[in-house]
């Protein structure tokens, strides 16, 4: 269970949002909505532990995440706007790298088949389009055993069929007891989970 308790976010001395709270249990999906600049990305980064909140606390399974960040990092997978892919390496090499860092190599074949990326495995990433690079980045979702996914605009640059693959994966993750927090400008096609408009808490002018 993830509990966000009165989080306030400040960036560069400017207050982005204040007193943001929610609780997400197992099988929970939270979709963050809001206008550009309201703090969706900042909120995801705060939850990931990448940036500290100006105020408030985050609890994971009842424990303040600051007490044991090492354990918390094993439980989360964060995918931001950037894909985390080395453009000079091939797709396979990138996936192998992330497997060695924090993934499960035994899931590699299933992930490759699910995302239908067999044909591009030996291509260097710089030769792929933005959409394909996003697809490769999302393949990591299947290589990870993290219980909480933090996804910032995961469907950006994706074709409709690939977006559907991702949404099915998210639904399966929730069905299997995982938790997903994602920001999106698109309609919630899954029709499950809850939505929060971060703009409501946004204080930046």
């Amino acid at each position: 269970m993830l509990t966000i308790d009165n989080i306030t976010c400040e960036r560069g001395g400017v207050s982005i949002f204040q007193n943001f709270s929610f609780t997400l249990g197992e099988r929970g999906l939270l979709v963050l909505r809001g206008r550009n600049g309201c703090g969706k990305t900042s909120l995801l980064k705060i939850i990931s532990g990448m940036i500290p909140p100006a105020d408030g606390c985050i609890y994971f399974d009842g424990e303040n995440i600051k007490k044991d960040m090492d354990s918390y990092r094993k439980e989360i997978l964060y995918l931001g706007h950037k894909n985390g892919l080395n453009s000079k390496l091939t797709v396979q090499e990138n996936l192998d790298f992330w497997c060695e860092i924090s993934g499960h190599a035994e899931m590699m074949n299933a992930a490759i088949i699910y995302f239908d990326i067999e044909n591009v495995l030996e291509m260097p990433v710089y030769m792929l389009s933005q959409g394909w690079q996003r697809r490769i980045a999302l393949t990591r979702l299947m290589l990870s055993s993290a219980s909480l996914w933090l996804l910032d605009e995961p469907l950006a640059n994706l074709d409709a069929d690939v977006a559907e693959m991702v949404l099915k994966l998210i639904a399966t993750k929730c069905d299997n007891g995982g938790m997903v927090i994602m920001s999106s400008h698109k309609e919630n096609e899954l029709e499950i989970g809850m939505e929060i408009d971060v703009s409501v808490f946004c204080k930046r002018i």
Binding site: S48, G49, M50, I51, P52, D70, R73, K74, I76, Y78, G80, H81, K82, N83, G84, L85, N86, S87, K88, L89, E93, F97, W98, E100, I101, S102, P124
Partner: protein, 222 residues
Amino acid sequence: MLAIIKNDIKTIIRSKGVMLSYVIFFIIIASLFPFSIGNDAEILKSIGVGVVWVAALLSSTLTLNRTFEEDYDNGTLEQLILAPIMPSLIILAKIISNWLVSGLPIVFVSALVSLIYDLPLNQILILMLALLLGTPVISTIGVMGAAFTVGLKRAGVVTSLLVMPLYIPVLIFGSGLSQSVIFGYDSEQFMVNMVGIIFIFLITLPLSVWSSALSLKIALEE
């Protein structure tokens, strides 16, 4: 950690001659001096070691920007900081890969460059030993400088200005060790310089690892 080292080395090798450019720059710098000061063998022999060390330091600064820049730009760095891997291991991996692609080649190429300065074989071997001990320190300090400036625009000059003063102690002990044979220093001088380099390494390594990890965290918070 091994994955990061393998990744970095593959990236450099595929970067179309970048690795070669460090070595060529080193050779060019070291080769320029005889043109400017003439070909008096005794003078060249007396300055050769110092020139090789300065060339090693200058060429190492070419590698620094690449240490974190690409990973920062493509999002790999933020993923690594969030991964279940200690940030200190990330830094250690970067130091090792920096040394493997820049420091280690210079150790071997210094033998070639030493021929320009007519250094005898035993002195070349001592020079190579000194560089073998000193280049890891150069990489350690260099990676620290690169971490301090990650994310900055035009960080290249700033990084070089930051690390150059920090290189001075290793330059003093390294060239001192290299010259201990050339100028007939006794074994005590040899040991003092060797222990000096090792001591600097033992001080800078934990400092670099800790401060670099903190710097990366701060850079990613921006």
